[in-house]
Symmetry: C2
Subunit: 369 residues, 2 copies
């Protein structure tokens, strides 16, 4: 299925769309009601380039939810089973967000901007509705809204060199999942060392849509001799790296523990977290199924546009939810949810593709590690 | 912008996707994280056919939120400023859903299945998150979930004839915005006289994905001599008909009154409605801007992929959010939000398209009336 996408205001453009189009974006997905580029040259060419040079990504679709006011910290803790007491200003924390049953609503990165101010940089679900209703239901003293902030990622081995040229050498000192404020043409923007790849780099939280194209253009111009290109989160690279995708590899059906996010849960001490009661037992005993990296034999698989059953004989023991041919590993790399009986390293399984069944195996940790 | 859409599980397929693909769907949009067809032959050919024959539409993306339990009615009233006391089982009601500030969160149709059971057939936002958090915050005795229900629409002047062949003559007796239960191959499905066109027809709330293709095929086979075709909500027809689209013509920025939905608000008597306080004044005084049908002069406009400013000289007095060339009216038909000073019938305005400014005028009521 490679059909066209019909334009409408509902599929929001971004402050960088002009640059994305000029760079020849060939395909998109829709993410938080916004266009997210998926292909420039080709998924394989983009992949190779990302691993050797540097790319600028329009990830404006990582919308922010801002919590501001005296109860911002209390609200933030209500949203996640991660104990936030140790979080300091300047840190980014990956925070699973769960509903009252412990089901995943989103897997954002939270930025603590001040003691009474957070941004929650969300994956693909209208988490704003949940957060607003919780704040309202508990009568919290907090403002909850979507600010005019659009992340732009700089990813790849040359990311430090490129970012330093545009934002100054100090950007190199940012530690992983820390952020600081950096100036560009008189305006200040949050820049974090983070991003949806394993190649390293930054996310620039561009505040004010009018600054979007000037920053895009400055990066493109400064990186010319580094072979900088417009890019986007790359399907192959993110599967190799074990980076999960909300809506693909996990949904509201899943607990954080099933998603391998148990290390980000401190259910016992996350006092006030919605869903805590529901998660206490799974936090102690562990889940009965869990996300695993999987290699699938045979020729390149088609796009994984629906869950592919994982079978052991006639028994379904899981499902694959992301997959792509990896040129570097010379196999199909995949992510799936596998039942406890079959999740050990090297377990042989079958995967049912739309056009036939193929052999597969559970891989140790991620391809990346 | 007519780029490709990348497949992924996150852009969910529907129980009817197989039929849609076999019928040669050329383009999609994404709606509630699900694929919604937008073009089969061409938008103009689909339009002409819809007005003369009958089409079957995969509108599974109209996901349902089910409210079930002793507090279902109380929760339903908390969600909308429409006074629901007169609603009886078997009715569909169009219910604006607002947040605590009176901002539109969705504009669904609610079906009252029983005194303690509703389906809310939603437009494009994850309203489930809001409803679940409200139910939880107020400790209501109610289950809130997304059931396995996928609407399939039969629309067009021959819709009655076609539906009667598959579901029996009794379906003809359904009144507008009423529903009943009808049997197909031993299973019972809700069918309502409703749909997102002005050509008349039904929506079949197919319960259980496994019934999807059998019903699709039965309709296609039964309608062969009526020239039944796979179709989809048609951009031209819905603008002509004044059917608003959430995310396009209205967002959380807007009150129901701005959207012309004041007639569905009984703010004074909708006791318990969230946002009631915020809406009381606007309900009395009216809004300062409101949705209007607009005709735009000149050649066919491009796809409206961003709001187009409406100007009077140097002053912005509104924006156009949906537009298409209408073969029947031989003009560009559009929907926009216009400031009170310029919203009267026949007011001359300018619309700023991406490639230049064109003359336009406010139209009386909808094109359709």
């Amino acid at each position: 299925m490679m059909a066209l996408i019909s334009p409408s205001r509902r599929l929001r453009r971004t402050p960088f769309s002009e640059g994305v189009e000029a760079a020849g974006c060939k395909a998109y997905t829709v993410y938080n009601h916004m266009l997210l580029p998926t292909v420039f040259a080709s998924v394989q060419e983009d992949y190779a380039h990302l691993k050797r040079a540097v790319q600028v990504w329009d990830v404006a679709c990582e919308r922010q939810i801002e919590l501001r006011g005296p109860d911002a910290g209390r609200l933030m803790q209500m949203l996640t089973p991660r104990d936030l007491r140790g979080m300091t200003v300047g840190q980014c924390w990956y925070v699973p967000i769960v509903d009252e049953t412990g089901g995943m609503l989103n897997d954002p990165v939270a930025l603590k901007l001040a003691e009474d101010r957070y941004w929650v940089s969300i994956a693909d679900s209208d988490l704003l509705m949940w957060v607003k209703a919780v704040a309202y239901g508990w009568r919290l003293e907090v403002l909850v809204d979507e600010p005019d902030v659009s992340p732009l990622a700089v990813q790849g081995p040359l990311a430090d060199a490129l970012a330093a040229r545009v934002f100054g050498e100090a950007v190199r000192n940012l530690r992983f999942f820390r952020f600081g404020w950096f100036e560009f043409q008189g305006a200040s923007h949050v820049i974090a060392r983070s991003g949806y790849s394993r190649q390293g780099g930054f996310e620039i939280y561009v505040e004010g849509g009018q600054h979007g194209m000037p920053i895009w253009n400055a990066l493109m111009n400064a990186g010319r001799e580094m072979d900088v290109r417009a890019g986007c989160p790359n399907l192959i690279e993110r599967i190799e790296g074990g980076l999960l995708s909300y809506g693909n590899d996990m949904t509201r059906e899943n607990t954080p523990h099933e998603c391998g996010l148990g290390k980000f849960c401190n259910t016992q001490t996350a006092i006030g977290c919605i869903g805590r009661d529901a998660l206490l037992r799974v936090a102690r005993d562990g889940p009965v199924r869990q996300v695993r990296p999987i290699s699938i034999e045979g020729p390149p698989v088609p796009g994984c546009d629906r869950p592919w059953p994982i079978m052991d004989g006639d028994d379904q023991v899981g499902q694959v939810t992301s997959a792509a041919w990896s040129p570097d590993y010379e196999t199909n790399v995949a992510i799936g949810m596998v039942r406890m009986t079959h999740w050990d390293f090297a377990t042989d399984i079958d995967v049912v593709l739309p056009d036939g069944t193929v052999r597969a195996a559970v891989v140790q940790k991620t391809f990346w590690i």
